[in-house]
Subunit: 245 residues, 2 copies
């Protein structure tokens, strides 16, 4: 009778081809499975709460896996696991859960945050931010974001090569908070389409750059046409900050 | 008639052998002088407000230099300079100053901050912090630090190979502030001895680890004997945050 474990993970995505396992390239999933297999001597497959794209980071990602190994028989399991993992991936917590828990299917909401450093000159301490030199108005941005809240077809912000036919997401929160020079743009939804957050950020910057009315966002959303939206912005500013069960 | 310029600099010290120019190794000074020479086609020597040790960072460092080049004739001087400099060094500001200004001699106070991440597990987002797993009590640390405030001979915290005979520093501020998991330990003094801040931090950790009375700090300070103090801690947690004129 195998045991199901839930793990909470943190990673810097810069050096990985996204979270999901792929052939011949390093991904978060492959690195975690390798480390778990090394430690347990079992062939472990993990299920993540959802995919993060190439270059996107996570301050809080969740996965589960089943195995016959009892991690509680090894007082240093977590410590050993982090010793094997590369420095840019860290398991913060591991615990036994019931077989009803499913990291992907049980997840109710995902929370992402995109950070913009809104100043002219780069800083040597900048990490995981987009440098944007022209002044941004968080009130106008919040007005534009407000049109995204609710249940909508987000086709306008989907990746052009997206295969998934389901385009409806329920956006619970979309807001911009200024912390000094930094703008933190938060999104909480039941699900996100591939590249959706980064394309919304690109659309915000397009609206601001051209001084469009913030209601332009509603127009683009309603059009459901990808080419009306802005460009897909760099993944480096994007962090998965929470998965809510 | 040459012009004196003051520059404000930011750097991550990890890849440099300290700030001061040395033969055959990369330092902050050599990189700045190279970039300024490239841009002005003049042989420029800069004077920094003071040395930072190998691996120490600066959020605010100051230097001056004299040259015949008028930077105001080039609207993009700062932008071009930062284009030439490596990513881990950035000049934030440049301005003409009177010949009476001297980056080192005019400086009244230096402000350093050392950051400790006080938690068991490393984080992939840790940068320029010391990870310390056992709980630290900021009240006890502040009590120990209080003995350092004032005009003292800091011989107990000097580098063992220090050549400079002047060991008296006037410490204006020494305090520890907790920000969640992070302890930020601030020092403001007229001058600092080589490795002094890092040896004070090592002494604090020695006092905490052994549950010594915080007055142990006074005992060590008064002894003026280096071997009574703790070890010199990693430079990665140390940042020069301000130079006050």
């Amino acid at each position: 009778m195998s045991t199901r474990y839930k793990i909470e993970i943190e990673y810097v995505g810069t050096n990985y081809f996204g979270s999901q396992k792929q052939v011949k390239v390093d991904t978060i999933q492959s690195k975690l499975e390798e480390a778990l297999c090394t430690l347990t001597k079992q062939n472990i497959k993990i299920i993540l709460s959802g995919r993060t794209d190439k270059g996107v980071h996570a301050a809080f990602q969740v996965a589960h896996f089943d195995c016959d190994y009892n991690i509680y028989n090894n007082g240093k399991f977590l410590h050993s696991l982090n010793g094997i993992l590369p420095d840019d991936i860290c398991v913060k917590n591991i615990e036994e859960v019931s077989k009803e828990f499913h990291a992907q299917k049980s997840a109710k909401k995902r929370h992402y945050c995109y950070t913009i450093a809104n100043r002219k000159v780069r800083s040597v301490f900048d990490r995981h931010v987009l440098l944007y030199p022209k002044p941004l108005d968080e009130n106008r941005i919040n007005q534009a974001l407000s049109y995204l809240i609710g249940c909508h077809d987000f086709s306008a912000f989907k990746a052009s090569n997206s295969q998934n036919p389901a385009k409806v997401c329920n956006m619970y929160e979309a807001k911009c908070i200024r912390e000094g020079e930094f703008l933190k743009i938060h999104f909480v939804a039941d699900r996100f389409l591939y590249k959706m957050v980064r394309t919304i950020i690109g659309t915000i910057l397009m609206i601001e750059k051209n001084s469009f009315n913030p209601s332009k966002m509603k127009e683009i959303l309603d059009s459901k046409v990808r080419k009306n939206a802005g460009m897909t912005i760099s993944p480096d500013g994007l962090v998965l900050v929470e998965v809510i069960y």
